[in-house]
């Protein structure tokens, strides 16, 4: 497979995963803000999606949603994610199925629909976000059913899990900083609950820990729980699984490097136990994050032909 095409598929997948996570976080935030939860500050949300820059004037929820979902001038907006996912898919069209291309093409036309954009102000934003999430689910379904399990599928899967890990780590770090890793008052508990909802982990948490919301247990779930698809351990395991499938189509040297990078990240996760110490927790998250970036660098150098 062409190195460029492999990279295109990898990034298509990353942008789609980013979109999915972003939409779910926004949905939870919006619902929480309607619920009167005080930790939701829309200016903070705006700043996060605007390279840390504050808005020129105070913005309400609908304005921030418009900015994150549909603003083409916002580099991190969902519409730009979809645009880039589609551009990457266009460049790899001969290695993805026609159905997958059409699914992304449909998504592109949907998100550019001005009628949909107007509903952010005129209608119910949750309905719009749900519609966009549904289109993401359609994408995952089409990938699962139609994509051939060849080399390209491995890059697609690795891209998906790498992006998911990075998003989970960022969300967890923000949550720890928001609550100082505590659940002392009722609002902290609500905040942790909404955090779990935003990463699709609330139901699973309840099954295992019904009746109590404890930050250290949530931390453990997000880091180590192998049955939770948004956990770091699960993601690294999946990355390793799809990387192993590349062995037969790789140069030995390339495969050894990627295997080493994945193994190192997994070992750091496995052999560190930060306990309830918030600083140690954040430190571990940052170390894992930098090792995931090393995996990306290894892919760039050994598979995608990018040398910088």
């Amino acid at each position: 497979m062409l190195s460029r095409v492999a990279e295109n598929i990898f990034w298509m997948s990353r942008y789609m995963e980013r979109t999915n996570v972003q939409l779910r976080i926004l949905r939870t935030y919006y619902i929480a803000s309607q619920d009167g939860v005080p930790f939701v500050k829309w200016d903070d949300v705006y700043r996060y999606y605007n390279h840390g820059k504050s808005p020129e004037k105070t913005m309400n929820a609908n304005e921030v949603l418009q900015f994150i979902l549909f603003d083409k001038n916002n580099d991190s907006s969902v519409v730009n994610n979809i645009f880039r996912a589609r551009e990457n898919a266009r460049s790899a069209q001969d290695h993805i199925t026609k159905e997958l291309w059409q699914c992304l093409n449909d998504y592109y036309h949907l998100i550019r629909d001005t009628g949909l954009q107007k509903q952010v102000f005129a209608g119910d934003p949750v309905t719009i976000i749900d519609q966009l999430i549904k289109q993401c689910m359609l994408y995952y379904g089409v990938v699962d059913v139609s994509m051939f399990r060849s080399e390209g599928f491995n890059y697609l899967s690795i891209g998906k899990f790498i992006e998911r890990l990075l998003q989970s780590i960022t969300a967890l770090k923000m949550q720890i900083s928001r609550t100082n890793g505590l659940s002392t008052d009722s609002m902290d508990i609500v905040s942790w609950r909404y955090f779990l909802v935003s990463i699709s982990g609330y139901e699973y948490y309840l099954k295992e820990n019904s009746g109590s919301v404890k930050p250290d247990l949530i931390f453990k779930q997000v880091l180590y729980e192998m049955h939770f698809p948004h956990s770091i351990a699960y993601g690294l395991n999946q990355i390793n699984r799809y990387a192993q499938r590349l062995k037969s189509v790789s140069l030995d040297e390339s495969f050894n490097k990627i295997e080493f990078a994945i193994g190192k990240a997994s070992a750091i996760l496995k052999y560190n136990s930060p306990g309830a110490d918030t600083e140690a927790q954040v430190g571990l998250l940052e170390t894992v994050e930098s090792n995931i970036l090393n995996i990306i660098q290894s892919l760039n150098q050994n598979y995608f032909g990018i040398n910088s």
Binding site: M1, L2, S3, D94, K98, N105, L251, S254
Partner: protein, 481 residues
């Protein structure tokens, strides 16, 4: 639910040959389709028209116009009413195109080798050397099987008496074949059963024929040649076509940055390292192909590819330097080429062409500019053209001045009326002007032409410009037995 008498309402244009209607009657080869069409009521027809548009958009059968960093998707307009050609007429076209291509191919070999045609005084040397598309770098380069014009699109039009004329030859990177394939796919959906009932000849084997030829070119070096399609990238307006063809042939779609030349051999960068490439179907123009030889600022090409080609280590399709043969000034000499190389009378006629470097012809043209189409010799796509009878006085004046200043840059032709074909527009059948671009494939086994081709249609009422960039569209083309 209203049945419209489509045919009764259909009014042809005076003095224009109509593909369907003759003496208030339906031509025989349109009869079967028109009868079926007549039975479709207006609301059903509107739904079909909408379905066609939707299918094009959702399948991404679009060309993209980029402005301010973002792509604007445009559908190449499609008219649902097919253009129908009877088999006997098609046989005539096929023979004519094959004859023309044989001559043009010999011309290219000759002009880049011994140049007998110049030495014998058939074509002036100055005309060839002044063509911007004549590549001195191709002199004495031997191309595989002596084939230059692997893929050609010959534009045909019909005058008021119905006779076919060649409007221009496209021998470099002719586009539109994916629309031919997609138009047929859409027709299956719009008119179930009508294609088999009308015994329409299939076009779907085009990718197989092309692939067979491409593999044939690579067989000189290896039994399993690696074939790739070189595209300028996603920003090219024909990118959809490139992806379609790569997908249908099962070959890699590469960009210039994916290829690298080492020791005069071409390789592509893959996840397993470098892989040798044997045949390149390129959709990048000559001047961008190798920055070391042609335009140094080209980011679309591959440094060193020219020398790899010259050494015979890679086959490039179409050959470099073909532009000299489809130059609009050289076009006027194609009938002479046919007589000179093949000793045959041309089957397909040329549109009479006045060469502006010839003083008599220039003066005649300037006097009769109102009745002429003036074209720039190095432009295509309907750009840089003057249609005398609809041009303003200012435009006529500007063109006159430019012709006098640089006559080699222009040719003039009498205004050909172009035949009309019925189009379904605003709920009724209306005549619109059409041309026809059949696609011919030349390979080691000879020349093959897929029946039909792309019918382009000037959708604006009264217009005779069929180019997509100038408001043109397309329709499916049926060759019926």
């Amino acid at each position: 639910m209203e049945n419209i008498e489509y045919f009764k309402q259909y009014q042809t244009i005076n003095g224009v040959f109509d593909e369907m209607k003759c003496n208030e009657d339906v031509r025989k080869h349109y009869d079967s389709f028109m009868s079926a069409f007549q039975n479709i009521n207006s609301s059903e027809m509107t739904l079909k028209d909408e379905l066609a548009k939707k299918l094009f958009l959702t399948q991404g059968i679009t060309f993209t116009v980029y402005s301010s960093g973002e792509g604007i998707e445009k559908i190449f307009p499609f008219d649902i009413y097919p253009r129908i050609i009877q088999a006997a007429e098609w046989d005539f076209i096929e023979r004519g195109i094959k004859q023309r291509l044989r001559a043009l191919n010999i011309f290219l070999k000759d002009v880049y080798h011994q140049q007998f045609i110049i030495k014998d005084g058939i074509i002036p040397a100055a005309l060839i050397y002044s063509s911007p598309n004549y590549l001195r770098e191709m002199m004495n380069v031997d191309v595989p099987f002596d084939i230059y014009t692997h893929i050609s699109g010959i534009d045909l039009i019909r005058d008021h008496d119905g006779s076919y004329y060649v409007l221009e030859d496209n021998l470099r990177t002719p586009s539109g074949v994916s629309y031919m394939l997609e138009n047929r796919n859409i027709s299956y959906r719009l008119f179930p059963n009508l294609i088999p009932e009308n015994k329409v000849r299939p076009v779907s084997d085009y990718p197989d024929l092309l692939m067979k030829n491409l593999l044939g070119l690579g067989n000189r070096h290896t039994s399993r040649p690696t074939v790739v399609l070189l595209t300028p990238g996603i920003y090219n307006s024909a990118y959809f076509e490139h992806t379609t063809l790569a997908r249908l042939m099962g070959i890699e779609l590469v960009e210039g940055r994916d290829l690298v030349v080492d020791n005069h051999k071409v390789y592509m960068r893959t996840t397993r390292g470098l892989k040798k490439v044997d045949v390149i179907y390129r959709r990048v123009d000559d001047e961008f192909l190798d920055p070391l030889i042609f335009r140094p600022d080209s980011m679309l090409g591959v440094p060193g590819i020219y020398h790899a080609y010259r050494k015979g280590n890679v086959a490039i399709v179409n050959a470099m330097g073909n532009g000299v043969a489809d130059d609009k000034a050289i076009y006027a000499y194609v009938p002479d080429m046919i007589k000179y190389y093949l000793n045959e009378e041309p089957i397909l006629k040329n549109v009479p062409t006045y060469r502006m470097e010839n003083v008599d012809e220039r003066e005649y043209t300037l006097k009769n500019l109102n009745n002429m189409v003036v074209k720039r010799t190095n432009e295509s796509g309907g750009y840089g053209m003057l249609i005398g009878n609809i041009a303003s006085d200012q435009e006529l004046k500007e063109f006159s001045e430019e012709i006098v200043k640089s006559p080699r840059q222009f040719i003039a032709q009498p205004i050909i009326s172009l035949s009309s074909a019925p189009c379904y527009i605003d709920g009724k059948l209306q005549p619109r002007r059409v041309d026809l671009r059949p696609f011919a494939l030349s390979g080691p086994d000879g020349i093959e032409i897929v029946p039909g081709g792309l019918t382009r249609v000037a959708l604006k009422e009264g217009s005779i410009v069929v180019n997509s960039s100038q408001g043109g569209g397309s329709k499916d083309t049926w060759v019926v037995d």
